[in-house]
């Protein structure tokens, strides 16, 4: 039996595949159902945002950032305006900062909810996907009320935000918070203890903190190894130093930790939203920003904690109203790098579990 000739099989998972979350393509080499090599191929959604940005004024780039991580567009908005504001030392009105924090954290919750839904859908559990959509829908509705869009918000501006919250909006957000807690409790009851689920994610795709750091992972992909690295805490920006919240970390760096951290982080985001809703002052929402934004010549780098990890913006200004060069440090793009080494030697079925837990958004990977 030993000399039976076996052949490796090359299989294209994607770009059209139910579980690659968009247009990722992973070329896997299979021996039976064991993966012996995997090569992620990206670029199917590359729109050249960075090149386009070189011909746009800074405020005109904001809608383009919506289209990067389209599940957390508020955070993308903020990454850009924050970088420019830092470069220009602009002062942002208090109310605008609070509104920004509220929408960013709500967006983070929406994004994490969707992660949990799609991840469980990948693992074959259908119902949680529809449960999370209920809550996400409410968040999206609230965004619709505040900025008139459900997905691509284009809400923030350099110097503040475009619209003030409509009357009663803050109360609506406050009332919404316990609702999410209920959903999270239900998800926890339904899924977290499920034996089949645990068998599929515990100990799968594990790596340690050194590997994560060496591969420039960020966000939950880094924190699942036990490393407390959250830019909201480690390099505070905006008004995050005013809120009381924890940085949950994992222990084993496996898919289970990554899943459970999403749940825990939602709880922390809810806490921030609650505090921000309580503290928010009245006042203007737009600061004294020049109509044509011209950061002083030089190069700037700043980063925020996006929904998927560290979302950095590097730009070079030549003193004009358009960036000379704009580069986004996209967390999904860098987090995806580790995928081939995680997949090697795994069963084909684990591909989905591992890929899903990396939590990528292809709009961001390809930029």
């Amino acid at each position: 039996m030993a000399d039976i000739r076996t052949e490796e099989m090359l299989m294209n998972v994607g770009p059209q595949h139910p579980s690659t979350h968009g247009v990722l393509r992973v070329v896997v080499k299979l021996d039976g159902e064991t993966i012996i090599d995997a090569d992620p191929v990206i670029g199917y959604l590359h729109r050249g945002t960075e090149k386009l940005a070189e011909d746009l004024q800074y405020n005109q780039i904001i809608p383009y950032t919506d289209r990067m991580d389209y599940l957390a567009a508020m955070l993308n908005n903020y990454a850009l305006v924050h970088a420019v504001e830092e470069a220009m030392d602009l002062e942002i009105p208090e109310r605008a900062e609070y509104l920004r924090v509220i929408v960013m954290e709500l967006n983070r919750i929406a994004s994490h909810l969707l992660f949990i839904g799609t991840y469980l859908l990948d693992l074959g559990a259908m119902s949680p996907f529809l449960y999370v959509f209920q809550d996400r829908e409410r968040i999206v509705q609230m965004f619709n009320e505040i900025c008139g869009a459900r997905l691509t918000y284009n809400y923030m501006r350099i110097g503040g935000v475009k619209w003030d919250a409509p009357p009663g909006w803050i109360d609506k957000v406050k009332a919404f918070v316990p609702h999410v807690r209920k959903t999270m409790g239900m998800l926890d009851d339904l899924v977290t203890g499920n034996e089949i689920f645990l068998n599929r994610v515990k100990g799968i795709g594990a790596y340690d903190a050194d590997t994560a750091i060496a591969h420039s992972l960020s966000g939950i992909n880094l924190r699942c190894t036990g490393l407390k690295w959250d830019l909201r805490r480690n390099r505070p920006y905006s008004i995050y130093d005013r809120f009381d919240f924890d940085i949950p970390v994992g222990e084993n760096g496996d898919c289970y930790d990554r899943y459970i951290l999403h749940l825990k982080e939602m709880e922390q985001s809810l806490r921030i939203v609650e505090q921000a809703c309580d503290q928010i002052p009245d006042g203007p929402v737009m600061g004294k920003a020049p109509k044509f934004v011209r950061p002083p010549a030089g190069e700037y780098f700043s980063a925020i904690e996006g929904a998927r990890g560290e979302l950095g913006v590097y730009f070079v200004s030549d003193g004009k109203d358009k960036p000379y060069r704009l580069k986004f440090r996209r967390p999904s793009f860098l987090n995806l790098q580790l995928l081939p080494s995680l997949l090697k030697g795994q069963n084909m079925a684990n591909l989905i579990a591992i890929l899903g837990a990396v939590d990528i958004v292809l709009g961001e990977v390809d930029c």
Binding site: M88, E91, L231, A297, E299, E310, R329, L334, Q337
Partner: protein, 267 residues
């Protein structure tokens, strides 16, 4: 991106059968086209009537403007050099403007400035102690120390910053490439961070536009893999020693490097 290009790409399973344009650089003649300067000139004329100051509000932090004179760090000579060299394109107007601005509002420095200067001095001293003459310039880019490293020593310095006791910048936060056609070079910048203190330094390196080649950082920082592939793809910088230097965003058979300033689509 057209459909047939997609198909081409799809058909290529194993991309190791290196396409002709894959490893070589783009011939300079190919990207001939409109000069970036012309479009810049248009932009200039559009916004010239405006007299909006480059930064408004917050008088307290005005002096943190990196243009506002050389920092009083440990290596003033290098500083001064950087002030001229590291700037991208003719900043004379803005510089003059911010100088004028500085004159009217002299204010206490940003609290972040002093530690940044100290870090700049410390790291610079340590690099120079181990690798003399590799730092071509050192300056503060908005509270982040930035060192211009000689090309030959690029990887060594990165490895030194990563492994050296007391420095330990183990986290490659970001990499980016920028094309400077007027100056004739392409610049690659890398931001290294010490975790969990969140202290960041930047290093950069320059390579001539015609045949840009830079030692790869992948042996030091595995996380540089895709970043370098992206820079290779979009700017055409050859990273020597990269284990898997292929296009990553554009299709394999794409011509040219789109993020170059003089790029024009190939027909």
């Amino acid at each position: 991106m057209t459909e047939d290009r997609r198909d081409d790409r799809e058909a290529k399973h194993s991309r190791d059968s290196g396409a002709a344009g894959e490893n070589g650089m783009v011939p300079p003649g190919r990207t001939a086209g409109k000069d970036a300067a012309s479009s810049e000139a248009v932009a200039e004329s559009v916004d010239s009537p405006r007299t909006v100051p480059p930064s408004a509000g917050r008088p307290g932090t005005e002096s943190s403007d990196p243009e506002a004179g050389p920092a009083k760090g440990a290596a003033p000579a290098a500083e001064r050099k950087a002030a001229g060299a590291a700037r991208p394109a003719g900043p004379s107007k803005t510089a003059a403007r911010s100088a004028a601005k500085k004159g009217e509002s002299e204010s206490p420095p940003d609290p972040r400035e002093a530690p940044a200067k100290a870090l700049l001095a410390e790291v610079l001293a340590r690099i120079q102690a181990t690798y003399p003459d590799v730092v071509e310039a050192a300056e503060l880019t908005k509270f982040i120390p930035m060192f211009l490293i000689k090309r030959d020593a690029w990887r060594d310095v990165a490895a030194y910053l990563r492994t050296e006791e007391g420095l330990a910048f183990r986290y490659l936060e970001a990499m980016a490439g920028t094309d400077y056609p007027k100056e004739g070079y392409i610049e690659v910048v890398a931001y290294l961070t010490r975790i969990p203190e969140a202290i960041t330094v930047g290093i950069k390196v320059r390579a001539p536009r015609e045949a840009p080649a830079v030692p790869s950082l992948v042996p030091v920082f595995p996380g540089a893999n895709w970043e370098e592939r992206e820079i290779y793809d979009l700017l055409g910088v050859n990273f020597a020693g990269h284990p898997d230097l292929r296009r990553i965003m554009m299709p394999d058979d794409w011509h040219g490097h789109p993020l170059r300033k003089d790029y024009s689509p190939f027909d």
